[in-house]
């Protein structure tokens, strides 16, 4: 129950250990962002038959450091129309949740420092998963306020897109995460990892669907390609960070890559058993960390792979996918898993439970489809009605599209 560090009360040593863990997590995240940017640039240039950065340091590994130093010394511009306070606040609202979210990720087993035993994770609150969801929701404010306070139209468009997109996919992500919570019967990330050890990973224990939904929703949450409408360069200049320069821009950049790392770490924790893996008696503390990081790197690679492969979604496709496909599917799957668990506890016949659930699912899907079709027909009818001018414009026959 909770971190054994606090079992014998809190003294100075405990405080120091927590401070040390916080410092290590902070430094680790900063360094991993440096490496992640380099990794992404290298892998994507491999996939595009290019060489990528190779000037600064061996294999260009210091390129991010050089870029960061440059950004640090650049002039920090403030647009005339900007809302000063919020403009200055927004980058921190974006970066701090990205840091904080990583605090609940278990990256290894337990270690002993100076007679105290503690988990290899900064904090293990009983509400761990809720904390993760809260942090990813707060990050929306950074993007939203950055776009709004810039006093410029492209950032505003970008941030409107961002808030709509993040709110839409938050639901699907929450439902897929809830499936993992259901499997472990706990919100604590440490317990979720514990329930999956050693090979009972949620990836297959939950049937794979929650993981796929989480992967898609997390990509959308972090505004990574193919869901990068928020900063679609071809349409919105830079999106919400168009008016930012120098160190504030660097903070947004930092937050973006840190979010990628964090959602990958969450995926590893929730669906891939976190640090669990083959037990090796030589250096038993080290191996869980190695397993965790190798899983993490695989995920980061997958995100880069997405970026290299998939073209950007159109806005209506994005909303369709989120609301009409992912949310109903993840809701259905969550209910199916819940039914199966209750059935197991009460001793019901499992195949019958699955069949009934499938029947209910099909009926629900048909109902949803019918509802969507009715909605579409009403829209079409209104568009075809010659009396209403504004709808005629929207139908596409007039040169001006949209209203």
């Amino acid at each position: 129950m909770g971190d054994p560090l606090y079992a014998n009360g809190v003294d100075l040593a405990v405080v120091l250990i927590v401070a040390l863990k916080a410092l290590v997590t902070f430094v680790f995240l900063l360094v991993s962002v440096l490496l992640m940017v380099w990794f992404e640039r290298k892998v994507i240039s491999d996939m595009q038959s290019r060489i990528g950065p190779d000037r600064a340091g061996p294999w260009g590994i210091l390129q991010t450091l050089a870029d960061g130093t440059k950004l640090f010394f650049k002039e920090d511009l403030l647009p005339e129309q900007a809302d000063r306070k919020i403009f200055h606040l927004a980058p921190y609202l974006s970066a701090i949740p990205a840091f904080a979210a990583f605090a609940v990720i278990p990256i290894g087993g337990t270690i002993s420092i100076a007679g105290h035993t503690t988990y290899l994770q900064l904090a293990d609150p009983p509400v761990g998963v809720l904390f993760l969801l809260a942090m990813s929701s707060i990050a929306v404010y950074g993007v939203m306020l950055a776009g709004w306070s810039s006093g410029s139209k492209y950032p505003l468009l970008g941030s409107v897109r961002a808030s709509a997109q993040m709110v839409s996919y938050e639901a699907a992500m929450g439902l897929s995460v809830a499936a993992a919570v259901l499997a472990a019967a706990s919100l604590s990330t440490h317990d979720i990892v514990g329930a999956q050890s050693t090979w009972n990973w949620n990836l297959w224990a939950l049937g794979g669907v929650p993981f796929v939904i989480y992967l898609i929703a997390a990509t959308a949450e972090t505004n990574r390609p193919p869901f990068d409408l928020v900063e679609a360069e071809q349409e919105l200049v830079g999106g919400f960070h168009t008016e930012y320069a120098g160190i504030r821009f660097a903070l947004f950049f930092l937050a973006e890559f840190m979010n990628t790392i964090t959602v990958s770490a969450v995926a590893v924790t929730l669906f891939f058993g976190g640090p669990s893996g083959p037990h090796i008696s030589f250096l038993p503390t080290l191996w869980p960390i190695v397993w965790f990081f190798s899983k993490l790197v695989c995920f980061l690679f997958v995100y880069v792979w997405f970026r290299a492969t998939l073209p950007r979604f159109r806005y209506d496709q994005l909303m369709d996918l989120g609301w009409k496909k992912l949310i109903p599917l993840s809701l259905f799957w969550l209910l199916l898993i819940a039914a199966l668990r209750i059935g197991r506890d009460r001793g019901w016949n499992q195949p019958v439970v699955v069949l009934i659930s499938l029947g209910v699912g099909i009926v629900a899907y048909a109902t949803l489809n019918a509802a969507l079709r009715v909605g579409q027909r009403l829209t079409d009818d209104e568009a075809a009605d010659p009396d209403v001018d504004s709808h005629q414009v929207a139908s596409g026959s007039a040169p001006k599209a949209g209203v």
């Binding site: 491999d46 996939m47 038959s49 290019r50 060489i51 792979w305 492969t309």
Partner: protein, 231 residues
């Protein structure tokens, strides 16, 4: 595979060859008639070719050339003939490297090198004066500190004037009608059109052999006979 085919394509690319040139270390060969920064040529006896006629300045669309002619001092003439280029300046902040000056020059005094990688850091450096443009006593372009010359680059200074047969008449094909240059003598003519059938279309400057390139060697009209890429 359907949707997932794209992933296969990008993954395969990771192990394919790279298309990038490692630019500052390795440079692509420049085309034969590349327009670079100019040089002012001299005759084989060391006299300057420029006669200060200002035709180059007149034809320049960017107005980047400034020339003032002066009478040759009788006891120490700078160029053969009456006048010479007393002041000759090209502003490389304005030059568009169109080479109209080279076409206009009646004495082949101004020609182009292949150098385009020069990055000066102040406006005075951008204005090349006669001292900087004029070839040195070996007939090679002067290398300024901010210019990126690579070994062998300095020999390719006058391709355009040798590009076409004089007067455009086929009967002159392969017969040089240009004066010799300090350090190089009379440069060989380029291959005529008839030689290009079945031959590689445009030889890069790295592939030019030091031997006369024409099908039949034509005796030069004067100067150091047979000397080609000497110096």
């Amino acid at each position: 595979m359907g949707y997932l085919d794209g992933f296969k394509v990008t993954f395969k690319q990771m192990f394919g060859p790279r298309v990038t040139n490692r630019y500052p270390d390795v440079k692509r060969p420049k085309p034969l008639r590349f327009h670079g920064r100019h040089v002012l040529n001299r005759y084989e006896d060391g006299m300057e070719k420029c006669i200060g006629c200002e035709l180059c300045a007149g034809v320049c669309p960017a107005r980047c050339i400034y020339v003032r002619g002066a009478d040759n001092p009788p006891d120490a003439p700078v160029s053969p003939g009456e006048r010479y280029g007393f002041v000759y300046e090209i502003n490389y902040l304005r030059c568009i490297h169109c080479d109209l000056c080279v076409e206009a020059c009646p004495t082949e005094a101004i020609t182009e090198s292949k150098l385009f990688e020069f990055s000066f850091t102040n406006r005075d450096d951008a204005i090349y004066t006669r001292t900087e443009l004029l070839v040195d006593d070996e007939g090679m372009p002067r290398k300024l500190p901010w210019e990126d010359w690579r070994p062998g680059d300095e020999k390719h200074t006058s391709a355009w004037v040798r590009a076409t047969s004089p007067s455009g008449a086929a009967s002159y094909e392969g017969k040089p009608a240009w004066s010799g240059e300090l350090g190089f003598g009379v440069r060989p003519p380029e291959k005529g059109q008839s030689d290009f059938e079945g031959a590689p279309a445009e030889p890069s400057i790295n592939e030019i052999s030091p031997q006369p390139a024409g099908g039949e060697p034509v005796p030069p009209t004067g100067g150091q006979s047979g000397t080609v890429a000497g110096g």
